[in-house]
């Protein structure tokens, strides 16, 4: 082989190789990447009970974390094969778009604006605002609170829309805004407020932590859908995650999902009806 021929052959080989890798990159889904890596990289936070927070022995736990376990189980048949990326709420979307995480499950509310930047999975929880009363409260439930009109004081987290949010449910109630969650509970405990209004998941968690001391007023409003998020443009990966979550809520992993739901929200779920699929009801 002459020198020139050899060079030409080498160039051709390199060109073929690079086009091959380009082809491989185009077709390779995140799914293959995660399987090859051997663990899932899950983005979530660490400071919000019961969604994602640290146990006393410093392990990450919560409902969002359990969604990660469901996906890891579907991938590797081992729910523990997860590497957590600890992120603040502001970092949820940037960490997805810059590939710092495979998926983010961090009580992310589905909105049209966000759906333009990332792809949402199917929902795994519907959040809403609820009212918590003391167990021995003179008001029995939501109807009693509403009937009492302006005699009722509601403690709520400080927010620009806090007042209008409470008034959507109790139009005449007095609204007291507080800095942090523990303070709205303290206001209820000390009798400064007749009821505390915040996310139902937070209330449910607090009530499971303090059995028998509080009760739910039995009314929810301000619905928001929680779903995990992945990078746009990888339908294969999105389909896989959707399947894993879907089967946790309706299929083989239902027991795991129901157990997690019971642990963090204190409610028992009825198993999906056997026979005709629930999806088409």
């Amino acid at each position: 082989m002459t020198n020139r021929l050899r060079v030409a052959a080498a160039v051709a080989a390199f060109a073929m190789l690079s086009s091959l890798t380009a082809f491989a990159q185009e077709t390779k889904s995140k799914l293959d990447e995660v399987l090859a890596r051997g663990h899932l990289v899950l983005g979530t936070g660490s400071t919000n009970a019961p969604w994602h927070f640290k146990s006393v022995d410093d392990k990450l736990q919560g409902f969002d974390v359990d969604m990660g376990h469901i996906i890891a189980k579907a991938l590797f048949n081992d729910p523990e094969k997860i590497e957590f990326v600890n992120q603040s709420s502001d970092a949820r979307i940037p960490n997805i778009t810059t590939d710092k995480v495979d998926i983010t499950c961090q009580f992310m509310t589905v909105t049209g604006e966000r759906a333009q930047q990332i792809a949402f999975t199917i929902p795994y929880y519907r959040e809403g605002v609820g009212l918590m009363l003391k167990a021995d409260s003179k008001y029995a439930d939501y109807a009693a609170l509403k009937a009492a009109g302006s005699a009722v004081t509601i403690s709520v987290l400080q927010n620009v829309y806090a007042e209008s949010m409470v008034h959507a449910a109790l139009p005449e109630a007095k609204v007291d805004q507080y800095e942090s969650v523990d303070l709205i509970y303290q206001a209820l405990e000390s009798g400064r407020a007749d009821a505390a209004a915040t996310d139902q998941s937070s209330l449910a968690w607090y009530m499971t932590q303090n059995q028998g001391r509080y009760k739910d007023a039995g009314y929810g409003w301000n619905p928001q859908t929680y779903a995990c998020g992945v990078k746009r443009g990888d339908q294969d990966w999105l389909n896989f995650v959707n399947t894993a979550l879907h089967e946790a809520m309706t299929g083989v992993e239902f027991d795991f999902y129901a157990k997690s739901f019971k642990t963090w929200f204190g409610k028992d779920l009825t198993p999906p009806q056997i026979g005709f699929p629930v999806e088409y009801k």
């Binding site: 919000n48 009970a49 640290k54 603040s88 502001d90 710092k100 942090s180 523990d182």
Partner: protein, 220 residues
């Protein structure tokens, strides 16, 4: 406030808090050390550099000093990864803080060097010292006395700025504290406690600065 209840939870959470404290101290220490080293060169370049170098370094310090630390932290975590430099949150955070620290130390060093009368440099030249020797034996020691109080201030700023790394998920003291609050609902108590720990770190830095000031003072 129920002290016994707080102490109970504090005791259970001692390991995470100590870990967070360790992170905060190591982040601050690395940022201050690298920032100071780099800052000395920045200060030298600003004072004695040839014109094009001086302009470049001037642009660097002005740009960095005019940017919020939070923006630097986010930039070194997200922007660098788009050009292929994939840093861990810890590395990205230390880099951002060190860069920020260097621009401040650079200005402090420049100020201190320019405050030394020109005669000193001329005298050093006259007795035949090279520039590195002039800096090491004549200018450096004199500048050090000027630099120390402002440097202590910058070092304390770095410790406080390390809290911003919780945004990119570095488990430093503030994030660890927030994790405990989310579990225990004792926000006032634990924020106070974290504030106390930050105070101790900064107090130690201040004492260290005083110690060096005493060591380098001109004996009277």
């Amino acid at each position: 406030m129920d002290i016994a209840h707080f102490l109970d939870i504090l005791w259970l959470a001692r390991i995470p808090i100590l870990k967070g404290l360790g992170f905060t101290i190591s982040i601050s220490l690395l940022a201050i050390c690298f920032g100071t080293l780099l800052g000395i060169f920045v200060g030298l370049a600003l004072t004695y550099g040839v014109r094009p170098l001086r302009w470049i370094v001037r642009g660097y310090t002005d740009f960095i000093r005019g940017t919020p630390v939070l923006v630097l932290v986010l930039a070194s975590y997200y922007v660098l990864s788009t050009i292929g430099l994939d840093l861990s949150p810890f590395q990205a955070g230390v880099l951002a803080l060190a860069v920020f620290c260097s621009s401040h130390v650079g200005e402090i060093v420049r100020g201190a060097l320019q405050a030394i009368p020109k005669g000193q440099t001329e005298a050093a030249k006259a007795i035949g010292l090279t520039f590195p020797q002039t800096f090491a034996y004549v200018l450096g020691p004199q500048a050090l006395r000027q630099v120390l109080p402002a440097w202590v201030n910058t070092a304390a700023e770095m410790v406080k700025a390390s809290t911003l790394l919780s945004i990119i998920g570095v488990a430093e003291l503030l994030l660890r504290t927030q994790e405990i609050i989310s579990r225990s609902f004792l926000s006032l108590e634990f924020y106070f406690f974290a504030g106390f720990l930050y105070f101790i770190i900064n107090y130690a830095i201040e004492r260290f600065g005083r110690y060096v000031e005493r060591k380098t003072a001109i004996p009277s």
